[in-house]
């Protein structure tokens, strides 16, 4: 049921450059305010898309429900058919954006020649995504204050995925490994933090070529800084 609705609605949305919003649709759906009609799902998607834009370019506190509904071209009250509050849409969006990032990075890993190369490709994919979707970057960052739980979940999941990749590479003997659990977690968080800030500097603000930036960062990661 939900399946067929999704397929129907997706075929009319999805302009170039837009990110999908399926996770948010499902999140809202599991919320007791699920649309039960194709029209309903279409409206929900319009609102979610509009909310992404509104939050993306005005920030949480300057964003307004009127702003969202007028972008979506629906009446003010319609918003409350699908969400209980401003905060709730934002949370739905955060979960979705978290998923978006993962979904855009994952396929890039397929081409990796080895574990370190996977990290390079992951970073390059992330940089490309961040450059093209600054709104997404911004929403996740602002979640630190508006939806701390969602924010934390996003980064813990991301760090967990990095740690898992490193563990696999360590098992294959490709990267050095000192058994300490702390060292493993520190490494994962350090890589993640570096990636996020490189995204801020070179994708969101400046324009560095994603591949060059990723290559430079990868050399640092594999060889370190100490002279031979």
């Amino acid at each position: 049921m939900a399946q067929s609705l999704s397929r129907e609605a997706r075929s009319e949305g999805g302009q170039r450059g837009d990110v999908a919003i399926d996770t948010a649709v499902r999140a809202a759906a599991s919320d007791g305010k699920a649309p039960r009609t194709a029209r309903g799902e279409r409206t929900l998607r319009k609102i979610l898309r509009a909310a992404l834009q509104e939050f993306g370019d005005r920030g949480y506190s300057d964003a307004s429900i009127v702003g969202i509904t007028s972008r979506a071209k629906v009446a003010l009250g319609t918003f409350y058919t699908y969400f209980d509050s401003k905060e709730e849409v934002f949370q739905a969006l955060v979960r979705d954006m978290s998923d978006q990032v993962r979904a855009h990075v994952a396929p890039a890993l397929k081409d990796a020649r080895d574990g370190l190369d996977a990290e390079r490709l992951a970073l390059a994919a992330f940089l490309r995504f961040a450059a093209e979707h600054k709104e997404v970057y911004r929403i996740i960052d602002e979640a630190e204050f508006v939806d701390p739980a969602g924010f934390r979940a996003h980064y813990e999941n991301t760090a967990g995925r990095i740690a898992a990749r490193l563990a696999k590479a360590a098992q294959g003997g490709e990267i050095r490994l000192d058994g300490s659990a702390l060292a493993a977690e520190v490494t994962a968080w350090a890589i993640m933090g570096a990636n996020v800030f490189l995204g801020l500097r070179f994708a969101v603000w400046g324009n560095g070529d994603p591949d060059e930036v990723a290559a430079a960062a990868n050399r640092l990661l594999s060889e370190g800084l100490a002279a031979r």
Copy 2:
């Protein structure tokens, strides 16, 4: 003149664990709303201290002027003797916190045996500071949305300082160096991002021992991940 006022006022403030707020005092002072009296400076300091607490534990949008003035134990209207708006105090605070971080990290560098060791000590000092002053961490982070210019300035300055340290170490032949300007900037931002996220994970959220975390991160930085 301002000198003697500062000395006077400082002697009555400064409870244990508090961060200083001198830069913010000066910033406000250069703003046309400078206090011209010892009493005035005392009040300004009370407001700034209160604002730091209020923003620190409620976040920018939940923080209120009433909250600030009642913490400071001054009347609501007094606030507007020193600041034109809520945003303006926040900006003053951001500049100040940026300075605080620098001021707490700088002295730790004196004991460094070499360039890489300096980075280790810098991180350890930062972690200690972040653990003890989560409000400061939070305010700088939230500046991304409330005071983008201040936020950007903070990180560009920080990255610049890291880059300068690395350049010096490279000149001494201690760390490898490929001449590329991009690589140098990528390295500085990567280190900074790693530090910030390690601060979030181990100082603000969890509790990792600053020295152990810094040691683990430093090994990653100097040796990299590639197996021998």
